[in-house]
């Protein structure tokens, strides 16, 4: 469990970082928090010839409100997300999602952007980004800046829409007004493990009626899955526990989860059924 030989560079500016990658994009990797990349290198599953450490690049971390959006810098640590001061349903969702990420030492190092770029189907941040239709700002030396919507960003396991010479620099999330109910629930065999199934939700309820519904599931597809069926069940209806149960049933029926040692498809559907209501705070039992 020692990595194969690699070159290590530590640029001081984003321009330098982009240049360092542009020299050999296919053989270079960005080092952010390193909580997935370094173990993969130690297992020799990843063998980048060059590691570009962006931890000293200024301006890439932190949260900032920007009108009806919140911008999250790519290097914002999970721990900072867990203790973010944002008011309202968005701040609460980010705090609760962050608390599910690994264990404390992992959260002090791992980053929001790194998690999205890594694109693990079980990642809480990938789920939240897809749930809220986040917009990813990416940059390259050759083509400058572009914005990729979450619906296009997550393509397959460990595969995003980013080109090898691009760096994810910031992520825009919608600021949610006080009518939203948000939450996350997941199931893993042990605390801190990757979720077998996870559910996130953001549902806007005004005067008892659902005016917007977003349900996003992890662990049931290669990438985070928005459950259109569950969202349809909710939208325009009167908010009630029975409605949520019906949405959970619809989510379970609508997905086509894979089977593996952690759970066969039927079990994963059971988990969806159990977790969607919990994501909406209707069943506190863990």
């Amino acid at each position: 469990m020692k990595p194969s030989p690699f070159e290590y560079v530590r640029p001081r500016t984003l321009t330098e970082a982009l240049a360092a990658i542009a020299e050999d994009p296919d053989e270079s990797k960005i080092l952010a928090g390193g909580q997935s990349l370094i173990p993969m290198m130690n297992f020799r599953l990843a063998r980048p010839a060059r590691l570009v450490d962006v931890n000293r690049v200024p301006g890439l971390a932190g949260l900032a409100s920007d009108g009806d959006r919140v911008r999250v810098g790519t290097l914002t640590r999970h721990h900072a997300m867990e203790h973010n001061p944002l008011p309202g349903p968005l701040g609460g969702l980010l705090r609760r999602a962050a608390a599910h990420v690994g264990h404390l030492p992992i959260r002090t190092r791992g980053t929001f952007g790194g998690s999205l770029a890594h694109c693990d189907a079980a990642s809480e941040w990938c789920l939240v980004a897809r749930l809220l239709d986040a917009e990813m700002t990416v940059r390259s030396q050759a083509r400058g800046t572009r914005v990729i919507p979450a619906a296009d960003f997550f393509q397959a396991v460990f595969t995003t829409a980013m080109a090898p010479d691009e760096i994810l620099t910031s992520i825009a999330l919608p600021a949610l007004d006080e009518h939203y109910r948000t939450g996350i629930a997941e199931f893993a065999r042990r605390a801190g493990d990757f979720a077998i199934v996870a559910a996130t939700a953001a549902v806007r309820v005004e005067e008892g009626l659902v005016t917007e519904a977003r349900i996003c599931l992890g662990g049931v597809a290669e990438v985070p899955l928005r459950s259109a069926a569950a969202e349809r069940v909710l939208l325009g209806e009167r908010w009630s526990p029975e409605l949520v149960t019906a949405a959970a049933e619809a989510a379970a029926a609508d997905c086509d989860p894979p089977g593996d040692a952690h759970g066969d498809p039927a079990y994963r559907r059971d988990l969806v059924r159990a977790l969607v209501p919990r994501a909406l705070g209707l069943d506190a039992r863990r």
Binding site: F187, R189, R190, G263, D270, L271
Partner: protein, 776 residues
């Protein structure tokens, strides 16, 4: 001092970070060893080419089997049945690879990184063969005659061997006659029980650092654990040196649990390389290697059939089990199978008993012992059966157990079979008393009522318990030397080993008690073959009994010598002298006294000659035993099941354990807490899974699920001392394994109860998905 909650004398060094673990042994010019392991479960070796590795700058040497062809297969330390000899493991794979992770070649380089780079360059040309993974399947061809003959090493031509390495029966009474002639209303009740393949996974992986010291002409091996004296003999033989030219030394050890410290292929390679290459050699196992290279354990399938009288009394038990041995038989020989069979009756009388053991090879990592070997498995099977008997007869599970207990008045109770080569004699015990004490202390009737009420209210809560008998203190001997220097400082030197269990503290407490001094002033030297002549090792929960008794004998001999010298010097009869506060004093006139330091100085060689004593205030003591002691206990669990996910959540775990005499209750409780955590691992989390082609699926801690502090409930413990052992001077029985033994059985019973479905759980680990399915 004995029985005190004394602080561990090991801890000041460890807590300051001053300990020395295997990886801390750093020698100038050392080479790092990297093992090239088979990537496939079964295949014919066409060629292994190390040349590309040798071309890498920094690689100093690389070997295949051809380079060590003169080495025999690795021998058995315990239970060396002749049947098993052909199944022994070669140091490097020979002709055939038989599991993923089997050492095929080895590379030595100037850094661990270069060694791993070099290992990648070794070219393996392997012809894959089908993998045989199901130990339940009928035995298949396993070894050809050539391999069998070579591995057995008997200079006798052996025929080809199948995958059943051995099968044997342990029995007494007449099981067939009992089943053939049941009394009126007697029932035959059967159960099936499976225990998943898992093992003890210490926080510190294995590691060894060896050097051939040219000045001293000694091969020095650091990083040993468990059985340094046996390993010294084995290493000396493998390296062609006399044992006096080999020093094996323990470092600090980050957990043992059975797998760690046995003689593995890597141990032979490290030491042989130190001799051949004349460079310091270091090998530090990484976690991915560990999970395929270090002994696995458990992996048993039991089928039990009991003949039961209407009142729940078990008249006869007919058991058969298959043990999934993995690809080779390692140092433990048939130990696990033997212990499983012999300990299966547990605390119950059972007039007619038979256990048929089948040890079968599969293309998986070889299996050995793990904390409570054979008892964890057998207790799960037996206690599941007893619960089933209670359910089918409509009796309370407490009542069924008490009806079958060996009564206290029948102790010592001889079961006419053997365990680990000793006659199985329950030396002492009052099982019903312990059951009653645990019930009262933890109000288990109240607990049962409370879970019943919760169930009535719709919650999936359950209670379950299991009873077990452990064994400890296997002989045949341990020795110790207690010495006092000219300043009065006391050193205990012995053949014991430490795997972190606190043996130093306990031995110091025993010496302190006899000598009337503070235990934390005593230095304990152990685990070093250059400091003591004999030691049998840290396994089978034996050291408190064996080394503790040896130290007691040595300290008493030393006290006798000190009193003789004091009597002579002070001019009083020996009988008038006592020991207190490091002094020998005249009873009734404590001002007249000699300190141990003064006596030690009087015993310099000249003084000793005048006194007619041997030089030095020092004495040896030995303890011999040809029987084991049998501690016993009860485990109980309260479980809540999440109806949505099926996850069983253990809310409470209760252990009652009688250890005869608790030398240090805090350390006993610590042993139990750690043991329970490992037992819960096997009950709910840990399992080595394999793909159909034999590829291991659990080679990281993401897939091999060790419970963390967050998964372990508070562990509530009652230690009792109602049945001191009559067969050692301290009355002590071992505490090392009783935390683990019945965890799977108790948790399974609690899950059954929570589900309201008797006999639902017949295998561990219990998967949430399976529980969810049972909920419908």
């Amino acid at each position: 001092m004995i029985g005190a909650r004394a602080l561990r004398i090991e801890d000041p060094v460890l807590l300051r970070g001053a300990g020395r673990f295997a990886a801390d042994v750093i020698r100038p010019g050392e080479l790092h060893m990297r093992v090239v392991r088979s990537p496939i479960a079964h295949g014919r070796i066409r060629s292994v080419d190390v040349t590309p590795a040798l071309l890498l700058d920094g690689v100093v040497a690389a070997w295949t089997h051809a380079d060590i062809a003169e080495l025999p297969a690795i021998g058995f330390r315990l239970t060396p049945l002749a049947d098993l000899l052909p199944y022994r493991q070669p140091v490097l794979a020979r002709r055939i690879v038989r599991y993923v992770g089997e050492p095929v070649a080895v590379v030595f380089a100037t850094s661990a990184y270069l060694a791993e780079d070099g290992a990648e360059l070794v070219r393996l040309d392997l012809d894959p063969l089908p993998a045989h993974l199901d130990a339940d399947a009928e035995p298949t061809a396993w070894l050809d005659a050539e391999q069998a003959t070579w591995a057995a090493g008997l200079d006798v031509e052996l025929p080809a061997q199948d995958s059943q390495a051995t099968a044997f029966t342990v029995e007494y009474g007449d099981v067939d006659a009992a089943f053939a002639a049941p009394g009126p209303g007697w029932r035959v009740i059967e159960t099936d029980a499976r225990i998943g393949r898992h093992t003890g996974v210490p926080m510190e992986c294995r590691g060894l650092a060896a050097v051939y010291d040219e000045a001293e002409q000694q091969l020095i091996v650091d990083g040993a654990a468990k059985v340094p004296f046996w390993n010294r003999e084995a290493v000396a033989a493998m390296c062609g040196l006399p044992p006096r030219q080999v020093q094996v030394r323990e470092t600090h050890v980050g957990g043992g649990f059975g797998p760690r410290g046995e003689l593995y292929p890597e141990d032979v390679l490290v030491t042989l390389a130190a001799v051949r290459l004349r460079r310091p050699i270091k090998w530090i196992e990484d976690r991915q290697e560990h999970l395929v290279a270090t002994n696995h354990s458990r992996g048993q399938h039991h089928r039990l059939r009991a003949l039961v009288r209407p009142d729940g009394e078990i008249e006869a038990l007919d058991a058969a089990f298959v043990l999934d041995q993995g690809a080779y038989v390692r140092t433990h020989g048939a130990t696990v199978a033997s212990l499983t069979a012999s300990m299966l009756p547990g605390p119950y009388r059972i007039p007619h008993f038979r256990a048929r053991a089948q040890v079968r090879l599969t293309h998986k990592t070889p299996a050995g012992t793990y904390r409570s070997p054979g008892r964890y498995e057998g207790t799960f099977a037996r206690e599941r059966l007893v619960d089933r008997i209670a359910g089918e007869l409509g009796l309370d599970p407490v009542e069924v157990r008490e009806r079958n207990f060996i009564p206290a008045g029948a102790m010592p109770y001889e079961r006419p079979i053997q365990a680990m080569g000793t006659h199985l004699v329950h030396d002492s015990g009052d099982y019903a008393l312990l059951r009653a004490k645990v019930w009262e202390k933890f109000d288990l009737d109240g607990v049962r009522r409370s879970v019943a009420e919760r169930r009535a209210a719709g919650e999936l809560a359950g209670f379950g318990f299991a009873f077990f008998v452990e064994k400890s203190g296997i002989g045949p001997y341990e020795g110790a030397r207690v010495s006092v220097d000219s300043s009065g400082a006391v050193t205990v030197t012995c053949g014991a080993s430490s795997v972190g269990q606190g043996v130093d503290t306990v031995l110091a407490q025993v010496a302190a008690e006899v000598l009337g001094i503070a235990h934390d002033t005593i230095r304990v030297v152990r685990g070093r073959t250059d400091q003591f002549e004999y030691g049998r090792g840290a396994f089978a929960t034996r050291l408190a009994v064996m080394a503790g008794s040896a130290v007691a004998n040595a300290a008493r001999a030393l006290a006798g010598k000190a009193r003789r010298v004091a009597a002579h010097t002070l001019g009083v009869p020996v009988e008038d002298l006592g020991l207190a506060d490091g002094r020998v004093l005249v009873t009734g006139d404590p001002a007249r006294a000699l300190t141990l330091a003064e006596i030690a100085r009087l015993l310099d060689p000249s003084g000793a000659a005048e006194l007619g004593e041997s030089p030095g205030l020092t004495a040896e003591g030995w303890f011999h035993s040809d029987h084991m002691t049998y501690p016993y206990g009860l485990h109980a669990a309260v479980v809540r099941i999440d109806p949505g996910t099926g996850r069983p959540h253990v809310e409470r775990f209760i252990v009652g354990y009688d250890v005869g005499r608790a030398l240090n209750p805090t350390l006993v409780e610590g042993q139990i807490a750690g043991g329970v955590a490992q037992g819960l691992g096997g009950a709910l989390y840990e399992e080595f899974r394999y793909a159909e082609d034999g590829t291991p699926l659990c080679t990281t801690f993401m897939d091999y699920l060790i419970p963390t502090a967050l998964e372990i409930p508070p562990i509530e413990t009652l230690i009792t001392e109602d049945a001191p052992s009559p067969i050692n001077p301290l009355g002590v029985k071992g505490a090392g394994e009783g935390g683990t033994t019945a965890v799977a059985a108790a948790v399974a019973a609690a899950v059954d109860d929570a589900l309201g479905r008797p006999n639902a759980i017949t295998s561990v680990p219990i998967h949430p998905a399976q529980v969810r399915r049972l909920l419908g």
